[in-house]
């Protein structure tokens, strides 16, 4: 099919400064067992193309699910019309920007494919579901597999050709316990699918999903009888399933170059980071090393080329605490240069599907492991709390004042883990929080997480991103719990 798109597109290319075709086909399967009952299985096959035209300074796109030759012809004409209409009225002279002419392929690294039937998957889900109901106080429980196979083709009028193929797997399980008017929910991988990786059923095997039902239910019950997290200023150790959210909201979003250039100010917001800060700004303590890494095997947002066709490689975004690069692709970097900035970016212009135009995203944004073991971090804390698994997140539109909550906390007293606490929350300010990074866990503490739900853009887009992180310790953080 992709070969025919390429040939039809090449026949129809108009005489313009730049023209591209991006085809996306996603095949998705969602299987779920709730309270030991199989939900009706859901599949989705979504496919379409986006045509982009740049001409005489203008930029236009047209997306269509009509993949016939007449459908492609209409989309090309529509995109061309938009380019003509916006020439001289755009934020920049798009024709002045050199768009990539890429060539290459990408395929999710997977072991030899062993087919697993829907029935077998349902049996796995049923087994974990059945393990959840260990007490009458368990009121709701659900286990699910969400898998997607994606094919992408990117063709440019000047000969660029990229084929990329991805497999994604997202296992999840959550349990809600209730007693005496209070509920606590505990999850495997996070309620919002924090455990998500590229790959097939081998992801399930390495995820720890098997056996998670009983453990998650036990933790939900433990939370139900636990005291509230105390309110105080203290040290916190954030485990990777909370670090992923911390990275995402207070490093990833503020460093998106399109936010810094103002594109998102009507919706997602702006950034406290400005163009002049790159190269010198002390974003965090010297222990903070953040990379854009599209090459990490199995991570959720690994790829070889972004959706503008730019080849993607690993780069340091923050090195030894100093802000180095922005999360911005070809067009944003070129726009920044027109404003006199020499900021460097990375190839991370991406779209959620064929029907949305690419914009700057964070893709795989990771904290590099440090030197401390988890035991060393715990033993260094006189009074603090170790927090696991994000449950709540809120941050201002400049990505500065944040407040995050976790599913589960465990007190640290005199260097030792003690009792579990429920409803742990903390708040801070991005610009100072990362400077309180006191210890970074070693590779043994690292987990490869992410989210399928990064929302941004106008029109809106929800996109897959990855965050790998070790456990990290932060000093003197404003911690609090729930009411009552």
């Amino acid at each position: 099919m992709t070969a025919s798109f390429e040939s039809i597109f090449k026949r129809l290319i108009p005489a313009v400064d730049f023209c591209s075709l991006r085809f996306v086909e996603e095949s998705t399967e969602m299987l779920s067992v709730r309270q030991d009952i199989a939900e009706p299985p859901k599949t989705c096959i979504d496919r379409g193309v986006m045509i982009t035209v740049i001409d005489k300074g203008g930029y236009g796109y047209a997306a269509t699910s009509d993949l016939s030759e007449s459908g492609l012809r209409a989309a090309i004409a529509r995109a061309h019309d938009w380019a003509k209409l916006t020439g001289g009225r755009s934020v920049a002279d798009y024709s002045a920007f050199a768009m990539p002419t890429p060539s290459g392929q990408y395929r999710t690294a997977m072991p030899q494919h062993v087919p697993v039937s829907k029935s077998e998957k349902f049996e796995m889900l049923k087994a974990e579901s059945a393990a959840c109901k260990i007490d009458d106080r368990i009121k709701d429980w659900e286990a699910a597999f969400w898998s997607t196979h994606t094919r992408q083709l990117y063709v440019t009028a000047d000969g660029g050709l990229v084929e990329q193929e991805f497999d994604f797997m997202v296992p999840s399980l959550s349990v809600t316990a209730f007693a005496n008017g209070e509920a606590q929910t505990r999850s495997f991988g996070g309620r919002y699918n924090g455990f998500c990786q590229q790959g097939g059923m081998e992801v399930i095997a390495r995820s720890g999903f098997r056996g998670s039902g009983r453990q998650t239910a036990e933790e939900a019950l433990a939370l139900l009888s636990a005291p509230n997290c105390p309110s105080d200023t203290m040290d916190v150790i954030l485990m990777p399933d909370q670090m992923m959210l911390q990275i995402h909201e207070s490093i990833g979003h503020p460093l998106e170059l399109d936010r810094i250039l103002g594109d998102e100010r009507n919706f997602a917001g702006t950034s406290f980071v400005t163009l002049d800060m790159f190269g010198t700004y002390q974003y965090g303590s010297p222990l903070l090393n953040v990379t854009f890494d599209p090459t990490m095997a199995h991570q959720f947002a690994s790829f070889a080329f972004d959706d503008d066709g730019a080849a993607a490689t690993k780069a340091y975004i923050i090195e030894n605490g100093i802000l180095k690069r922005a999360l911005g692709g070809t067009i944003s970097q070129a726009r920044a240069r027109t404003q006199g900035s020499s900021v460097e970016g990375v190839s991370t212009t991406r779209s959620c599907s064929w029907n949305r135009a690419p914009i700057d995203r964070m893709s795989n944004l990771n904290i590099e492991p440090g030197a401390s073991s988890l035991e060393e971090m715990i033993s260094s804390v006189d009074k603090g709390v170790l927090m696991r698994t994000n449950s709540s997140w809120s941050i201002d539109d400049s990505r500065n004042k944040f407040q995050f909550g976790c599913e589960m906390g465990q007190m640290i007293e005199n260097g030792k883990l003690t009792h579990i606490v429920k409803n742990p929350n903390y708040r801070g300010i991005s610009a100072t929080f990362w400077r309180s990074l006191a210890m970074v866990g070693n590779v043994a503490t690292q987990e490869v997480m992410g989210t399928p739900y990064c929302g941004k853009g106008e029109p809106s887009q929800v996109l897959r991103v990855g965050h790998a992180s070790p456990a990290c310790k932060f000093s003197n953080i404003d911690v609090f719990g729930a009411e009552g």
């Binding site: 009706p40 859901k42 599949t43 829907k118 009121k139 009507n266 941050i395």
Partner: protein, 442 residues
């Protein structure tokens, strides 16, 4: 009529493909939309999207399987695609156990709604926006076009909903995060209406140029404009009105539902599909109840009940969608006059918008979020200065309970500008709220 005829032809074709004992449900969600994104009163990205998504369910012998597929809009191609999808669903059914919660409408109730409109041409819209935004830092999104929703089952039911509309949401920025937000949504574009809204935004922008006031955390008297109330009610909609969330103890309003807590007696909320802009039918073929009372006199009165929940909990469904999320919330008006609100506020916060809300204590229905856009410090009934953004963290049981001083008589219709996957058809009609204590924490 072209899209309606196409969908009904596809539905008729599906009817020819079913086997004995089978029932099919088909839900079409399609649009032909234009999107123009502005930054600094110039175009950042402009384009069009034509998409047709069909959700096809096959039901037989108390089992159900579902597939969502994109269609081209060309019958011949799509019939083959639908046929192969049905065959795949039929294979899936064979491996499934019976579904004890299966419920779909078996009493055909056909309907048709075709809205009228007068949308601007893209060239005219660009001229209007960019001329009114000249010399201003305007950023936003103009979305317009046709939205189609259709339902058909193999029992002969046919439902159609067509809405041609526009939704322009924009900000005028002064500097950094100091901005005024406004929107203009509807079916008939009027240059004069748009000009009035731009003039109102421009007037507020002048106030934003004053030196900002920096507040310390604490309790403040506050007026929440309808857009800010919409953010609070929007977060409540995240499981708060769903009977499934309530029965499974995941609702943030558990204590309201249990009767352990109550809101102020002036708080009443309905899901008023009758007055909304979303289609009046849902994906299992049920028509939505015209009006479902959720909260009345500050107390829990009802829930959104999907067919699946109805079967699970042994209750009647009221045509809610599968997520049991509201699409046409209607909050009762109060008695306070909006024009007199600054005087009623006396000294405190005038909050135009809130941003990025989430629960900080779900059981206490305590939520946190940020002030955003035009938010001002008011002294002695007059706007004194813009405020730097502040974080709040407070319980809805306080904000819309003991601390609520009153709701405005005037209400705003807020049309959801969301476009995740497709353009939203949700809306809410809400008053403003005056509260005596609003807890700022950071």
């Amino acid at each position: 009529m072209q899209m309606q005829n196409y969908f009904y032809a596809i539905a008729d074709y599906i009817d020819t493909q079913i086997h004995n004992g089978e029932t099919t449900l088909a839900y079409l969600s399609a649009e032909e939309s234009d999107f123009v994104r502005f930054n600094k009163n110039a175009v950042r990205q402009a384009g069009s999207v034509k998409q047709l998504m069909l959700t096809l369910s096959l039901i037989n012998n108390h089992r159900r399987a579902e597939s969502r597929i994109s269609l081209s809009g060309e019958r011949e191609n799509d019939e083959a695609w639908v046929k192969s999808t049905l065959e795949a669903l039929r294979r899936d059914l064979g491996d499934l156990p019976e579904d004890p919660y299966l419920l779909f409408n078996q009493t055909p109730q056909s309907s048709e709604h075709i809205g009228e409109s007068k949308l601007p041409s893209n060239a005219d819209m660009l001229d209007q926006v960019m001329s009114r935004g000249r010399d201003k830092d305007l950023v936003g999104l103009f979305a317009s076009g046709v939205i189609y929703k259709g339902f058909a089952n193999s029992l002969g039911q046919r439902n159609w909903h067509r809405a041609d509309n526009f939704n322009f949401e924009w900000c005028l920025y002064h500097t950094a995060d100091k901005a005024v937000k406004n929107s203009y949504a509807g079916t008939h574009w009027s240059d004069a209406d748009f000009a009035r809204r731009m003039a109102a935004s421009s007037a507020q922008l002048e106030i934003l140029k004053r030196p900002p006031k920096i507040l310390q955390p604490g309790q403040y008297r506050a007026y929440l404009a309808p857009a800010a109330v919409n953010e609070i009610v929007g977060l409540l909609s995240w499981g708060g009105f769903s009977v499934k969330s309530q029965r499974n103890k995941q609702s943030p309003l558990i204590k309201l539902e249990d009767g352990a807590m109550a809101l102020h007696s002036s708080v009443s909320l309905d899901e008023c599909s009758r007055d909304g802009i979303a289609p009046g039918f849902q994906a299992d073929g049920f028509l939505k109840a015209p009006d479902v009372s959720l909260i009345a006199g500050g107390r829990h009165t009802g829930s959104l009940i999907s067919p699946r929940s109805a079967r699970e909990f042994g209750i009647d469904n009221n045509g809610a969608n599968a997520a049991e999320a509201p699409e046409a919330l209607d909050m009762a008006a109060g008695t306070m006059q909006r024009d007199a609100m600054l005087k009623s506020l006396e000294t405190g916060l005038l909050i135009g918008n809130l941003h990025y809300l989430n629960y900080s204590d779900r059981m206490a229905c305590r939520m946190t979020g940020m002030t955003r856009f035009a938010t001002f410090w008011v002294e002695n009934g007059e706007i004194h200065a813009p405020l730097n953004v502040m974080r709040f963290d407070d319980s809805v049981y306080r904000l819309l309970g003991d601390n609520l001083l009153g709701l405005t008589e005037e209400r705003d219709l807020i049309v959801d500008s969301g476009s995740y996957g497709e353009r939203s058809t949700a809306s809410a009609r809400l008053p403003g709220a005056l509260v005596k204590n609003f807890a700022l924490t950071l």
